[in-house]
């Protein structure tokens, strides 16, 4: 059985299905269209970003990054990511756990609410916080009386980032944990494990890849968020500007080298994220394929 399947796959790889093969011109034509499209729409812009960033050499690039306002934007962006990713990690795991392992009233409502940040425009998300915490907002006077600044300050930026990144971890985990069911946890409990032991020794290892993947996506969004943060930031350079906001300001002031220098940093982070994500997908797929392969092998020999 396994042999037959292997043979079949082999034929396929060698392109043996002459009858269903498309004519040469069509294959080449379609490939060319795809390549040109990729080059113009993706690769060229990336090249331009880096070319412009380094148009005044390394020195120009370094000077642009080292400028205090840019540097503080980098730090603020990293701070927003460092706060929002762990918060969403804890929230995402807790929400996915509750949704997939228990039956309760309002479960569908919870799933819908988790999706909310995906479905509303980030601008609206920012407005929500302004309406809530701003000077003329519901809690504004109360906060002002206690000299707590949220809007046009760092807490507002962190809050907005947390809001827009809420769905990433939970969305990734819910289908995974629903598919895995409750039996392994029940088995752990029946063997005498405590709830925490079952969670750390059984649940977490089972959702490991999904969890890492969710964190990566969450992180990417936290670094790149523009809309919601833009509304609550107030664009105070050196204080409440994140990298994307700083890039916009620099660009609008015709400071192309510094703008593209910052942009190239964001692009680098994004590329790095993609590489890590790809690596994880590859590893997860491989460990899965291995398991399946060997199962089939054992079943065939049994």
């Amino acid at each position: 059985m396994a042999g037959a399947a292997g043979h079949f796959g082999g034929t396929n790889k060698a392109g043996g299905r002459v009858g269903t093969r498309d004519p040469r011109w069509m294959r080449w034509g379609l490939t060319m269209v795809a390549v040109v499209f990729l080059a113009v729409m993706l690769i060229l812009p990336l090249v331009i970003v880096f070319a412009t960033a380094f148009s005044k050499g390394w020195a120009g690039f370094a000077a642009a990054i080292a400028e205090s306002e840019s540097w503080s934007a980098i730090k603020l962006t990293l701070l927003a990511a460092v706060v929002s990713v762990p918060l969403n990690l804890v929230f995402g795991v807790a929400a996915a756990w509750a949704i997939s392992k228990f039956e309760f009233r309002g479960k569908n409502l919870l799933i819908t609410v988790i999706d909310l940040p995906f479905s509303v425009s980030p601008i609206i998300a920012g407005m929500l916080f302004v309406l809530l915490f701003g000077a003329h907002g519901w809690l504004g006077p109360w906060l002002a009386a206690r000299d707590i600044k949220i809007i046009f300050a760092v807490p507002g930026i962190v809050l907005a980032t947390v809001f827009v990144t809420v769905p990433f971890v939970a969305r990734e985990l819910i289908p995974l944990m629903q598919a895995q069911g409750r039996e392994e946890e029940e088995a752990a409990l029946s063997l005498g494990a405590s709830g925490w032991q079952a969670f750390f020794r059984v649940t977490i290892p089972n959702i490991k890849w999904g969890l890492i993947y969710g964190v990566i996506l969450c992180n990417a969004r936290a670094l790149g968020e523009f809309g919601a943060v833009s509304v609550v930031s107030g664009h105070i350079q050196g204080v409440t500007n994140t990298m994307p906001l700083q890039i916009e300001i620099l660009y609008n002031e015709y400071k192309f080298v510094p703008a593209f220098a910052m942009a190239s940093l964001l692009v680098l982070m994004a590329l790095l994220t993609l590489v890590v994500k790809h690596g994880i997908e590859w590893r997860a797929a491989r460990s899965h394929a291995q398991t399946v392969d060997e199962t089939v092998g054992v079943a065939a020999t049994a």
């Binding site: 039996e183 029940e186 029946s190 005498g192 405590s194 290892p205 079943a299 049994a302």
Partner: protein, 362 residues
């Protein structure tokens, strides 16, 4: 350890999964919960384990109330239908899990754990596969790992949910007799759930037949098979021919046939005990396929005429499908030698006399 279940009821929404169940499992016995899907057998097993809580009633372990005891403290070994092995742990680690999660004071040393796991793997004949992962095992091997894992914590009760449900026929047969031998060896009180009557009758000391959240009958395999308490049990345990007839003067009458029904028919749940007067009462007459005598000529015994329509002679028992005069399908089974001596052909007219009938009043 003995298990006593007293008046346990469990409701899911509008569905009554268990309806005032009373059952006692004596220490050391191997009991099967047998029933169709939806009969509540798995729910009962999960209530015993503490994975589900009873809405009413109580569970006693060795006479001690364990109704509110957490699953962790019940000391039960549970084998799940789909094994629920920890997929990221090796077979060895799976079996060792229950020992490793113990509080430090009660935890055996590393060497002790190793020794015990190896002993268990040997018991389930998997000592060479300790380093494999669950995904690399066949269904039968996974089932045995699940069993070893459950036994590792030295449970006082072993609970198995459809233990052979997901296996193919041959592996199933092997594991069945293996489980029976294992139980004779370690003698832990065991309850297993199955919908397969053959499995229950072959493996268990006692069979509990369930349907609709209630217990229909409790008895040894022989008792439930030969002396079913009601129509449901009669139907569920093997094939049976049913005729609508009546009971008159101590005889079961259906069609042209009137036969003594040897044992006093026990009443079905809804009806009274058989009255002793001679008045005719409508009843259902049940005859198992192997309890027909087939004759080619009329021989003076009360018999039903029928025509052979199909014969399946593949196996030691020959299955014959017939059509009675009144147009009812009838199934009969007879030993191969007997079938050969009769020289039955399709289309042949034969005479069927029941050796034994079972009667339940309508």
């Amino acid at each position: 350890m003995s298990i006593e279940i007293q008046g346990v009821t469990k409701v899911f929404g509008d569905f009554k999964a268990l309806d005032r169940i009373d059952l006692t499992v004596p220490s050391g016995e191997l009991v099967a919960l047998l029933g169709p899907s939806g009969s509540g057998k798995t729910t009962l097993l999960r209530v015993i384990a503490g994975l589900e809580s009873a809405d009413e009633g109580s569970i006693l372990f060795d006479g001690e109330d364990a109704t509110t005891r957490h699953v962790r403290e019940r000391g039960v070994g549970f084998v799940f239908q789909h094994y629920a092995l920890f997929r990221h742990m090796s077979v060895f680690e799976n079996v060792a899990f229950g020992l490793r999660v113990r509080p430090r004071k009660l935890r055996p040393s590393r060497e002790d754990i190793r020794e015990r796991v190896m002993k268990l793997l040997k018991l389930v004949q998997l000592e060479h596969l300790g380093k494999r992962y669950p995904g690399q095992l066949s269904g039968g091997q996974r089932q045995r790992v699940a069993l070893a894992r459950a036994l590792a914590v030295e449970p006082k009760v072993l609970l198995l949910d459809e233990p052979f449900g997901a296996l193919d026929a041959r592996v199933r047969q092997e594991l069945r007799s293996w489980l029976r031998r294992l139980h004779d060896e370690i003698h832990v009180t065991s309850v297993f759930v199955t919908h397969d009557q053959e499995e229950a009758l072959e493996v268990a000391d006692r069979v509990v037949v369930m349907s609709g959240g209630r217990i229909e009958q409790i008895g040894t395999p022989e008792e439930v098979f030969h002396h079913p308490a009601n129509e449901f049990v009669m139907h569920f345990l093997g094939n049976v021919n049913v005729f609508h007839g009546r009971v008159e003067g101590g005889k079961a009458v259906f069609g042209d046939v009137a036969v003594e029904h040897g044992e006093t028919a026990t009443a079905t749940r809804s009806s009274e005990i058989e009255p002793l007067d001679d008045e005719a009462k409508p009843a259902k007459v049940f005859i198992r396929p192997h309890e027909w005598d087939i004759a080619v000529y009329r021989n003076g015994r009360p018999a039903m005429e029928a025509v052979v329509i199909h014969v399946n002679a593949a196996g030691p028992v020959v299955k014959v499908s017939l059509l009675s005069e009144s147009g009812e399908p009838v199934h009969a089974e007879l030993p191969l030698e007997h079938y050969r001596s009769l020289e039955l052909r399709t289309g042949q007219r034969v005479f069927l006399s029941p050796r034994k009938v079972k009667v339940f009043f309508d």
